[in-house]
Amino acid sequence: MNKNPSEEAKLGIWAHRGLLEEFWHNFKKNKLSLVGGIIVLLYLIIAIFAPLLAPYNPVEQFNAPRGEHNPLPPLSRSAEGYLFLLGSDKFGRDILSRAIYGTRTLLQVAVGSIAVALVLGVWMGAVAGYKKGTWVDELIMRAVDVMLSFPTLVLAIALLGAFGIGKTRIGPFVLSNMVKIMVVIAITYSPRFARVMRGVVLQEMTEDYVDAAKVAGASGGRILTKEVLINTIPPIIVQASLMMATTVLTSSSLSFLGMGLQPPRPSLGLMLNEARDFLFLRAWWYAIVPGVSISLVILGFNLLGDGLRDSLDPRQARRVQQ
């Protein structure tokens, strides 16, 4: 109780260091996760400011100079004199501009599908965990098992195949192709969130604070929504950021296979597919740009996810180290 004033002040600062500061303090210690964070941040900036950053319209076609053919190599100029920093594609479109817009659509799909998957999966998992051992739990988790028994990509292709490509009308709702892809990816990923969520809820429900809340007169639903859910946020954030990497891969794969976004919409997966024909001919740069771009963003999300896991859930990080 009798502390000198300076010590008191120090303790005061400590006491008021919020959860966010605490998190940042842990997070910045890990340099690799900082790198991941920076990569992700760069990609987000590119995606958000695509119209400002892209030198040309991504679908505008330019003519190759006389005697040359598209795709043109990096730093060459079109017949009209426009500079292609990273070369042009087979239709004479600027690869840099297409890559920037492609990043935008890729992240849109990834973020959108993770958001939908979270909404679906978190509730399934939370209810299953809360109703542990009852038929509700069994029903949800067996459905999850069934969905997880399909490889993600195969399930996504099957669902897209069933919906068809392009706009889809479901009752009164018209889903654009992009929204449909988001929903399909979300459906394939939501079981994973459900599993993680159920585990976390099961663990949290055994904590003493749940009993303490019951003793205080809280109802079960209130305990789940007001007490337990907030404690499940850190592991779910970690899971979401790690899952971002795989959804990026899935949505690129779908585009690559022609099941995803349709041309002429710029998409990194589609660009890779188009570049395939030129890989061993003369236009190696054609595939490099989307390929490196996809790899980097996946690397970024993975590093970020690892870092988040270590700094948001020190208990788990310690367990992993042991």
């Binding site: 109780m1 400590w14 006491a15 003493d208 604070y209 009993d211 003793v215 007169g217 809280a218 109802s219």
Partner: protein, 326 residues
């Protein structure tokens, strides 16, 4: 005679585990009067906490309250609806757990958690609740209560957290306060402070208190009556002075003898009770304590003794009572 505040009659609580049936509480009866402090003493696993949780009706699968009655002001809690129980929990009967860090939600501030209890049970406005929270934290002796409401549990010390838990428990002026080993996680100085606080609050609000502990010294200081539990059964019940002066049950004697005394010379080893606490799944026939009891004979191993009043306010469950009592 008026109705006691809380009365437990022949309570049986069992847990149906995969290994067998755990007889956690086996036909116990006890009562608590207004303003009285009852100590429940026993080793780990003797059924103290299960008794308390049964009163709160918080026994969960695979556990079940098999039979008995729990009367709160004459009203049987076991037949109440869950909704009714929720209104009673925290308002009429409040409970404080032993581990203050894990009993508080790490992601909510202390203020929010105290406020929550008030919000459940009263219709006070937000502003009134806020001042009530500050008032409560002041009552339990938390310095700078206004500032501290915004702190998270990890920013509190162990003693302060326990004080906050007590603040939550007394927030709606409960009639029964159950303290489940409230100071096990704390050091002795803080322990003394907490009990001083509990005594003050009892004096001020006059609630009946049940103190669950394994520490006989704590009981001696703050209880009126004591109940000794062994392997799910009450073996002795007595006023606190009578118990310490003249323990009757062989188990109680063993317990009191195993307390070290500073002023006793020449004693080399602390006496202990031979044997181990029996497994609650496979309890011995007859008296639960018979395998460890030096007075036990054939009859003790066959017939389970029931709790009988031997003197006024003095109950004991032992068949050899006449031999033991000098």
């Amino acid at each position: 005679m008026n109705v006691p505040l809380l009365e437990i009659e022949h309570l049986v609580t069992r847990f149906y585990t995969e290994d067998g049936v755990v007889k956690a509480v086996d036909g116990n009866s006890l009562h608590l009067a207004e303003g009285e402090t009852l100590g429940i003493v026993g080793e780990s696993g003797s059924g103290k906490t299960v008794t308390a949780l049964s009163v709160m009706r918080l026994i969960e699968n695979p556990g079940r309250i098999e039979s008995g009655r729990i009367l709160f002001r004459g009203e049987n809690l076991l037949t109440n609806s869950e909704k009714k129980m929720r209104q009673i929990r925290g308002k009429d009967i409040a409970m404080v757990f032993q581990d203050s860090l894990s009993s508080l939600n790490p992601t909510l501030t202390i203020g929010e958690q105290v406020d929550r209890v008030i919000r459940f049970h009263t219709k006070l406005t937000r502003r009134r609740r806020k001042s009530r929270v500050v008032e409560l934290l002041t009552q339990v002796g938390i310095p700078e209560p206004k500032k501290r409401t915004g702190n998270y549990p990890h920013e509190f010390s162990g003693g302060m957290r326990q004080r906050a838990l007590i603040a939550m428990a007394i927030s709606c002026n409960p009639e029964v306060l159950i303290l489940d080993e409230p100071t096990t996680a704390l050091d002795v100085t803080i322990e003394a402070q907490i009990f001083e606080l509990v005594d003050q609050l009892k004096e001020r609000f006059g609630m009946g208190t049940v103190l669950i502990t394994h520490d006989l010294a704590v009981v001696a200081n703050s209880c009126n009556r004591v109940t000794i539990m062994y392997a799910g059964r009450i073996v002795e019940e007595a006023g606190v002075y009578a118990l310490y002066e003249n323990p009757l049950h062989p188990y109680t004697r063993g317990l009191l003898h195993s307390i070290p005394h500073l002023n006793e010379e020449g004693q080399e080893r602390l006496p202990s009770i031979p044997g181990e606490v029996p497994d609650l799944i496979s309890l011995p026939e007859g008296c639960n304590f018979s395998p460890r009891c030096r007075y036990a004979d054939e009859r003790c191993r066959q017939v389970a003794p029931s709790l009988k009043e031997v003197k006024s306010g003095r109950k004991i469950a032992c068949l050899k009572i006449d031999e033991i009592d000098e």
